[in-house]
């Protein structure tokens, strides 16, 4: 009884001080991480930051040099992938080219010795879940990228894993399909209630899909937080710059602007170009030359060079008025609410 209760209370995934080096390159440096059952968790970072290695440790394709991996409270550090109750959707989908779609999906049942008729039935159910039941007898090589993605998903879910790992699941899809799949993955995760862990280098994807995000940089976790907290309260300059775009103001300039010697980040959309009148009292104000304007449709991005030589990006929402922005080359005053500057470590 106590055993059962302990298992229910234990995290779905836990890494304890896990390290992994490839020759001289340290891919993961004493990573500790706890993921609760039912979470939609993102491992976010640039390439080479260790996020994929982290996923591979959880799947069992790789083993830590030191530290532990626990699934459901059980130490699986030395357990091979085929004995872990975790399934993976691969970046290249890894569909078996010599099998049709139904056989691909049923593979997990086949290696467990489930009878052919039962396999087929359950594979069709899984294909129904991803709306591909009419493709059961196609060869996997005849599918489009989005369809392959769904087959890979159905195949990974057929064993009813407690944890689903997704390695850059949407990386190879075009923009529109990617947005569709984001919504679909999210609703699928809510329906199934299992833990999803996905690796991505796309911060937008991580913010929109995950409950919590771990931001990786150079083998360490820079910050682990909810998407909103990551965006509004980045702790380091790296996170501020990687999650969304931000102006990172170093301590020297910060001292001149605000009087406090503390580096901070300010989002471009929070800075305003002051065209007339005085800015509110709680605003930080500075002056600079408007160097250029990049028009993005919904907003324009202006680069303002301050007297100290620093360049601040300012996002101005499209107002429909062509004369709303000063011409490049003119001197402008910019301001932002003092409180919206995020102090950095």
């Amino acid at each position: 009884m106590t055993d059962q209760r302990k298992r229910d209370a234990s995290p779905a995934i836990e890494l304890r001080e896990a390290s992994r080096a490839f020759g001289p390159v340290v891919a993961l440096d004493r990573i500790s991480l706890t993921i609760s059952p039912g979470e939609f968790f993102a491992l976010l970072g640039p390439s080479g930051s260790g996020k994929t290695t982290c996923l591979r440790l959880i799947a069992g394709f790789d083993h830590p040099d030191s530290g532990q991996v626990l699934l459901d409270g059980v130490d699986v550090t030395d357990i091979p992938p085929f004995e872990r109750n975790v399934n993976t959707v691969f970046q290249d989908y890894a569909l078996f080219p010599h099998m049709n779609v139904a056989d691909n999906v049923a593979y997990g049942l086949r290696v467990r010795g489930v009878a052919a008729a039962e396999r087929r039935k359950r594979a069709l159910e899984m294909l129904d879940l991803v709306q591909l039941e009419s493709f059961a007898d196609r060869r996997s090589t005849q599918l489009s990228g989005g369809q392959k993605q769904r087959v890979a998903l159905a195949r990974a879910l057929i064993n009813q894993p407690k944890v689903l790992l997704l390695d850059e699941p949407l990386g190879a899809l075009d923009l529109k399909l990617r947005e569709e799949m984001q919504t679909e993955l999210k609703s699928l995760q809510q329906r199934l209630g299992i833990t999803f862990v996905f690796v991505t280098h796309d911060q937008g994807e991580a913010l929109s899909m995950a409950n919590r995000v771990a931001v990786f940089n150079a083998g360490r976790i820079e910050q682990l937080d909810t998407p909103r907290a990551l965006y509004t309260r980045p702790k380091t300059a790296f996170v501020a710059g990687f999650v969304g775009s931000a102006n990172v103001v170093e301590s020297d300039l910060a001292e001149r602007l605000t009087g406090r010697r503390q580096a901070f980040a300010i989002r471009p959309e929070l800075i305003r170009i002051v065209t007339n009148g005085a800015p509110p009292a709680d605003h930080v104000v500075t002056e600079g030359v408007l160097e250029n304007i990049l028009y993005h449709g919904a907003s324009s991005r202006c680069h303002v060079r301050t007297g100290d030589g620093a360049v601040l990006a300012v996002a101005q929402a499209e107002s429909g008025d062509a004369a709303a922005l000063p011409a490049p080359g003119t001197r402008v005053r910019i301001s932002w609410p003092r409180a919206s500057a995020v102090p950095l470590e």
Partner: protein, 303 residues
């Protein structure tokens, strides 16, 4: 100046350019190779006059009746086919781990070393190797000496005592001939197999393990089916090379005839060109059957 005007002339005349490039090899393949092959095969439908020993240019199936009607000739075909099958199977079994290591596990240096190692024997004359093997396998040869030194004289004697495939020594038994055949054709199995295994993405093996397959299951259900085109290509080499060879059976092994030896003897000393031609039809037909079977098993689906 001339080069430039030639380039200008060829530019935009794609058809002419292609024809110019393809004409020499097509001429060679068409006339020299295919035509002479058909000329040879056509002769199998002639027969020789038994009294004059001259070829009578009249279409007849007499030669084929002679081929399939004579128990000795049928024996030769069966013996050759059995040897080719055994050599192919053994080559596949030996080549698989080697190719697998080369394709998946070896680092770049080790891989280069293995490729050179596999191909190096092919730089040596074929005849030298066959005769060297005869010495190695001889009764007083180094292999039997080493086995005796290791206290394995008993097992060797028992192996040579096996009826049909055994003999007085390795060098004069079908076992010895089999060893030499496998040695000779092994590179032709390893190379295509390694190429096929190299094309199997690592993620497929990981996906298989991820879905719960133990390594043995992954091998049977993923690696083997995907390596089939390589196995098919390699086995076509080992099978057809064994079917056609006449040097190894005449230097090493028991005195029984093989197809290649019959072709050599019939067109040479015996002067029976039609029978030689009929014998050379046999491997062609066998390979055609083999390819059809391999195709039905899906060996070329992944190409």
């Amino acid at each position: 100046m001339v080069a430039r005007s030639v380039s200008r002339f060829l530019h935009g005349r794609q058809g002419f350019y292609l024809a110019l490039l393809l004409a020499p090899p097509l001429l060679w393949l068409g006339t020299v190779y295919l035509a002479s092959l058909f000329a040879l095969l056509a002769q199998s439908f002639y027969a020789i006059d038994e009294f004059t020993a001259r070829v009578v240019p009249e279409l007849t199936l007499k030669t084929y009746r002679q081929l399939v009607g004579h128990p000795a000739n049928v024996d030769i075909v069966l013996r050759t086919v059995l040897m080719a099958v055994a050599v192919t199977l053994a080559s596949a079994v030996i080549a698989f781990p080697v190719a697998n290591y080369m394709a998946r596990h070896a680092g770049p240096r080790m891989k280069a070393l293995f490729y050179v190692g596999v191909m190096l024997p092919m730089w040596t004359s074929y005849l030298v190797k066959v005769y060297a093997w005869r010495l190695l396998l001889a009764k007083e040869g180094i292999i039997s000496w080493a086995l005796t030194g290791l206290g394995l004289q008993g097992p060797l004697d028992r192996l040579l005592a096996v009826p049909v495939v055994g003999g007085p020594s390795l060098a004069s038994s079908y076992i010895g001939m089999f060893i030499v055949f496998v040695y000779m054709w092994l590179p032709f199995m390893i190379l295509p197999l390694a190429a096929a295994l190299e094309r199997v993405p690592q993620s497929l093996l990981q996906a298989s393990a991820d879905l719960g397959a133990r390594p043995g299951q992954t091998f049977r259900t993923v690696v083997l089916p995907l390596a089939l085109p390589g196995l098919a290509a390699g086995s076509i080499f080992t099978f057809s090379l064994t079917l056609g060879d006449y040097i190894i059976p005449s230097v090493v092994g028991a005195p029984g005839y093989f197809i290649g030896m019959m072709v050599y003897q019939q067109q040479g000393t015996a002067g029976n060109m039609p029978l030689a031609a009929a014998f050379s039809i046999v491997p062609i037909v066998l390979i055609a059957i083999y390819l059809a079977l391999a195709r039905r098993m899906g060996a070329f689906d992944a190409l």
